[in-house]
Amino acid sequence: MTVLCLVELDEGRVADASLRALRLARDLAGPAASLAVAIAPPADPAALGTEGPVLAELGDQGVATVLLLETDGLAPGAYAPAALARGLASATAELGAVLVLAPANTHGQEILGHLAAIADLPFVANCTTATWEEPGVLTLTRQRWGGSLLEDARLAAPAALLSVATDAVTPAPAVTPTTPTVLVHRYRVEAGELDVVATTEPGESGGVALSNARVVVSGGRGVGGPEGFGELEELARLLGGAVGVSRVVTSLGWRPHREQVGQTGTKVTPELYLACGISGAVQHLAGCQGARHMVAINTDADAPIMARADYAVIGDVSEVLPVLVREVRARKERAGR
């Protein structure tokens, strides 16, 4: 029995979202089964060499086999969801895999969606836990409403696809590390599967990507207007982080939608989430519940955000932030950082 997990690389390492999916995949593989991963050939072939960190990282995760999905007409590093799903279908068949997992982000879910249609399999999105009730029957929990509600369910199917809610599962190494075997898995695409290929254009923000930021400095209605975000940008820059915002801020046109955190925005899993003038509606928390630490700055000590935050400063953002920026800058200068 094999459990297969789709893995993506990010700057020459296993992407954080993939590590989270691997955690659940490994638990499902258990000692009795083997854990395999499928990877699209990276733009830099050295990334998967013995010198690079990727194989060691996958070994730490207990991965037995790494399948490199290769096909004619798709260059290394290129992203074509329908083709990659075909590769995954072919790998699944060859390995006799009973489960295929991927992170519940755009690439992971899009590819699983295609695979579900190709192989006519059930695809359960946003799973937070899954265990075998008996062979062929899973007991699982998945997020609904962006994670504001959980669904406990039973899935009886000879094979299935699961996407893993990245904000609910934290990465962890395997008890017993492995030395993965890398195999090239060649597959053939069908008509039209190379018609949708991504071209990457440089980002508009130029700064740290919100989805993987270690620090997110987030502002809501309480920031008062577009001008107020200057201080948030400066603080984000000093902390090597990204600016996030609430939906009120994007619908008022104060900031672009790509910065929105929440159910209909981006999900973030930073070390620190600093919520400035944000009330903490469930739809907003749906995007930041995976933060390791949360700090709120809010005039209202009874705002719902206070229930989720670890620490809070009760005060006006426009008064607290300038002092905070000054103090952080001074502290960094003193430490020579």
């Binding site: 299935a160 290929v197 990457t200 254009e201 989805s211 709120a296 229930a307 400063v313 005060g315 008064e319």
Partner: protein, 263 residues
Amino acid sequence: MELLVCIKRVPMVGGRIAVTADGLAVDTKMLGFTVSPHEECAVEEAIRVTERHGGSVTVLTLGPPEAAEQLRDALALGAHRAVLLETDGREWGPAATAAAIVAAIRDREATAGRFDLLLFGNEAADSADYQVGIRVARALGLPCVTAVKQLEADPAGGPEGAAGRLVARREHRGATEAFAVALPAVVTVKEGINLPRYPSLPGRMRARKAPLDTAAASFTPDPLERRKLRVPTSDRKGAEILGRGPDAVPALVDLLDEMGVLA
């Protein structure tokens, strides 16, 4: 251009979601209904395409008889036709939903001609299955782009025999992914692609009287069998107050240092 937009009726849950006593459904007794913000944007985008290039927008939903309300909301905004695939109120899984939509599309296309562009919300607000649009695209043999936040449709472009072409863009790790595909195509859109308009009074009057094209949809159970819905609980004790106003800043900076985010 001929466009189809698929939407789903969902309750307007507020700050906290209430579950029925048997734990099997969201308690909607006190709630109004709407569609996901992604789908509001899909309807808006479709109307904008027809405002630029001509043509018409058909909205389709699979849902209970009450879902007529969501179809009329879309008609009030400027959609031209509405199709209700009527269920008995039970919740449908994504594979069965996609199959019913595919059958309805084939049906309509047999008499009324092809749709050039099929829009979906990227994921429904409640179930977020992320697959109905993709399953429909594959069943119809159409290209599909998901998570789209910018769309340019060009009915004159594209290769020989195509109904035009489109360029769709989305965010990916701080950069932009762009896709150029020939029409007809399926696109699932996200909030942020546009700011939806509000309905006009004449629009609402028109929608109230507009005919809906209704067909019965027969239920197929999903392999995912629900046991219980529950609101996540937390063992958090609430925020520790560091202080009030700017005076609290030194304590906050100490904390940031401890967290290791100052380096």
